[in-house]
Amino acid sequence: MLYREAGQFKTNYFADQAVFPIRQDRIGVAIILLLAFVAIPLYGSNFLLQAVVIPFLIYSLASIGLNLLTGYTGLLSLGTGAFMGVGAYACYKLTSLFPGVNILIWMICSGFVAAAVGVVFGLPSLRIKGFYLAIATLAAQFFLQWCFVRIPWLVNYNVSNAIEVPQRMLGDIVITGPNASLHTRYFTVLIIVVAMTWIASNIVHGRIGRMWMAVRDQDIAAELMGIRLLRTKLLAFAVSSFYCGVAGAMLVFLWYGGAEAETFNINQSFFVLFMVIIGGLGSLLGSYLGAALIFGLPILLRLLPDALGVPMHSATIEHMSFLIVGGLIIIFLIVEPHGLARLWQITKQKLRVWPFPY
């Protein structure tokens, strides 16, 4: 009834090509942005910002990165955690070697370092596909993590083998380090994530995105149509690793405040892969929904018994939340194998004809 595009006429090609062609969608996005930029910082508690929203945004960015590779280009990767690590370690090295340069510039630059590493490990993708490629990227995961542990230069010879985020300023405002206020970090994360999502949306809706999807759907056909496979696949690896790298740098610099090599282990890769699969392969919205479900649901479940006043041991809650999240994932995949994004799409279709379905 409310969600209906009847009467919204498009009079030029530009309007017809818009990412959100329906007015209600545009209003919805505007409301979400308003919530994120105004309501959450104004009314959210510290816990909500620090433990829920900031990591959610960072993981969303990482899963957008993986989605560009796995969802849009069809190249399965298990090296996400390691590529995030490359971003984090690169940012740490760059900012300790050149402390005068603004940290935000280094965060973006560390994405390029991750992209370069991603391209190297993406080279086998020309010859191998599917599960075999997953194994090849697994090699990246193990090799890079090995480097994080074994190369003391990466951590500036820290005896505890950890990176500690130094204090860095933007003008007069502290953005990283323990003295950075929560809201500064939140807005930094939010702005980077929103901007990079916008860029990703433009990439996937444009020529490059179409090339990727052509490769995903049938790479031989794509090649016959004149798409150069090596370049396209490597570009996907580069862009994907860039996103993961920036997400990794943000993870350490704007959320954790310090990290060990263990932070970027294989579990991190799986964590992001689950987000992409549950959220929906080949959907930017899905990346957000997946991150919300995989990251947010356990937190919610942990808070639930306390809020309801049911006394429960923290370990029991943990076991319960493992069970419930695992069960939900299976249910979601059975009900809708294409992920939450597809579920949302179906809901939209139903909403259009509601309340008089035909």
């Binding site: 508690s45 816990f47 620090q50 310090g258 090599a261 294989i266 370990a315």
Partner: protein, 441 residues
């Protein structure tokens, strides 16, 4: 379709309802002590007894004495699963309830919390783990890691080896193997080990065990068999320990030449090796067994009601949890004494930790005579104290104390710590200078 709609609705409702849960009540009539524990995940085997010991001792204080200084302790566990992500989440969710102390129980989590401690005014007690450099109180006023650092541990092990060999000069030309968890924790003692090797003229062989290979160490032990080191030193945790002990027994390595750090000395680390584990050595800094009045009190007041299994009561790692809680309780007691307040805050407890002074008489008063070496060296400048530890041996059934308290080589360790702390502060531009005044003991 209805199922789908229902699910969508449930998810939406849950998301909308989320902020409602994010409320915190801070009670003024109690002292809030959060315990970060890990009863789940790959390290649960070590995490459960520690969590039980910590929780039970504080519960016992509540039941027996009505808390500390007449104020009840509000104890809450937060499950970290040894995962840094969840640890940070735990920290944030407990922060709202104004905790007086944080026990991260994971080096990874400790590292995240070190810079935050000063800002949030909550002291971090990382008991014999965490960042070694945080022993330097001038640079880390809010972080404490008594009773000893890993480097102290290594120096105690070296002392023990030298004593068995008949003096440090006898080490010349010998080979000492070092098998370690290949991460920050295991790599930390290497610089000191190499320094010792140079000084005393022995050779070191390093056998790293990667996290993913913790339960498969046959390759490392094949190398051990080839290299035939005179002594083996281990820095292990979790599933790595029992595997190493079993492999050592299988390769017929003499168990009484195999010595682990205090984190490698659980009953469940030695027991699975069966007869072969007999003779295995580890360091320890507290007593084992339940033969202490305070532990009897736990048995009387708490056991049965808590999560502790009766047959696991007063095992080594359980008692380590108790030791940890004694430090917490003592810090709170001191804080009450210094400030005269009853419901103390994190800032007060920091002062309490700096004046930590558990003499032999005090141990007795606590109902734990001889449980630990006197913890008397913690000062404003020294947040560790470099206290003594002893060597214990597995007799096939239980741990037996075989040496007296051995003091670490502070003169070797301290300069390294100071250098590490200086390095840390230099690299973290803008690291705050200490402004906290120092209390007299």
């Amino acid at each position: 379709m209805r199922l789908k709609a229902l699910m969508v609705g449930a998810v939406l409702a849950a998301t909308a309802g989320a902020p409602a849960f994010v409320t915190a009540a801070s009670a003024q009539d109690s002292i809030y002590v959060p315990l970060f524990s890990y009863r789940t995940g790959p390290f649960a085997g070590s995490g459960i007894p520690i969590a039980n010991g910590m929780h039970d001792y504080l519960d016992m204080l509540n039941a027996r004495d009505g808390g500390i200084g007449g104020v009840k302790l509000a104890i809450e566990e937060c499950e970290t699963g040894y995962d840094t992500k969840k640890g940070v989440e735990c920290y944030e969710s407990t922060k709202a309830k104004s905790p007086v102390i944080t026990n991260p129980y994971s080096t990874g989590i400790t590292l995240q919390l070190i810079p935050k401690a000063a800002v949030d005014k909550i002291p971090v007690l990382s008991m014999a783990y965490g960042l070694s450099a945080s022993a330097v109180g001038e640079s880390f006023p809010w972080v404490f890691n008594p009773p000893a650092t890993y480097w102290d541990g290594l120096s105690i092990i070296m002392k023990h080896i030298a004593q068995k060999e008949g003096g440090f000069d006898k080490l010349k030309g010998k080979t000492i193997g070092f098998i370690f968890f290949d991460g920050g924790y295991g790599r930390e003692p290497i610089p000191l080990l190499e320094q010792f090797a140079k000084k005393y003229g022995f050779e070191t062989k390093l056998y790293p065990v990667p996290a993913a290979e913790m339960q498969n160490q046959s390759a490392q032990w094949l190398n051990v068999r080839r290299d035939k080191p005179a002594w083996m030193i281990m820095w292990g945790w979790g599933a790595m320990n029992p595997t190493a002990v079993r492999e050592a027994a299988r390769t017929n390595y003499p168990m009484d030449k195999f010595i682990g750090i205090w984190w490698s000395g659980g009953e469940d680390d030695a027991r699975p090796a069966g007869e072969g584990g007999k003779g295995y050595l580890t360091l320890n800094f507290h007593g084992v067994g339940s033969n202490y009045p305070a532990l009897k009190d736990i048995e009387k007041h708490v056991l049965g009601k808590s999560q502790t299994q009766k047959d696991k009561f007063a095992e080594n790692l359980y008692n380590r949890g108790v030791y940890n809680s004694v430090l917490i309780a003592e810090a709170i007691t001191n804080a009450q004494k210094i400030t005269g307040k009853k419901a103390v805050t994190g800032a007060d407890v920091r002062r309490g930790l700096e004046t930590l002074n558990i003499t032999e008489a005090r141990w007795k008063e606590l109902g734990l005579p001889g449980f630990g070496a006197p913890v008397t060296n913690v000062t404003c400048a020294d947040h560790n104290g470099h206290h003594a530890a002893y060597v214990q041996q597995w007799d096939g059934q239980k741990w037996v104390k075989i040496t007296d308290w051995i003091t670490p080589m502070k003169e070797e360790v301290r300069p390294l710590l100071e250098a590490a702390a200086k390095d840390y502060v230099e690299k973290n531009t803008g690291w705050p200078k200490r402004t906290e005044p120092c209390d007299k003991k």
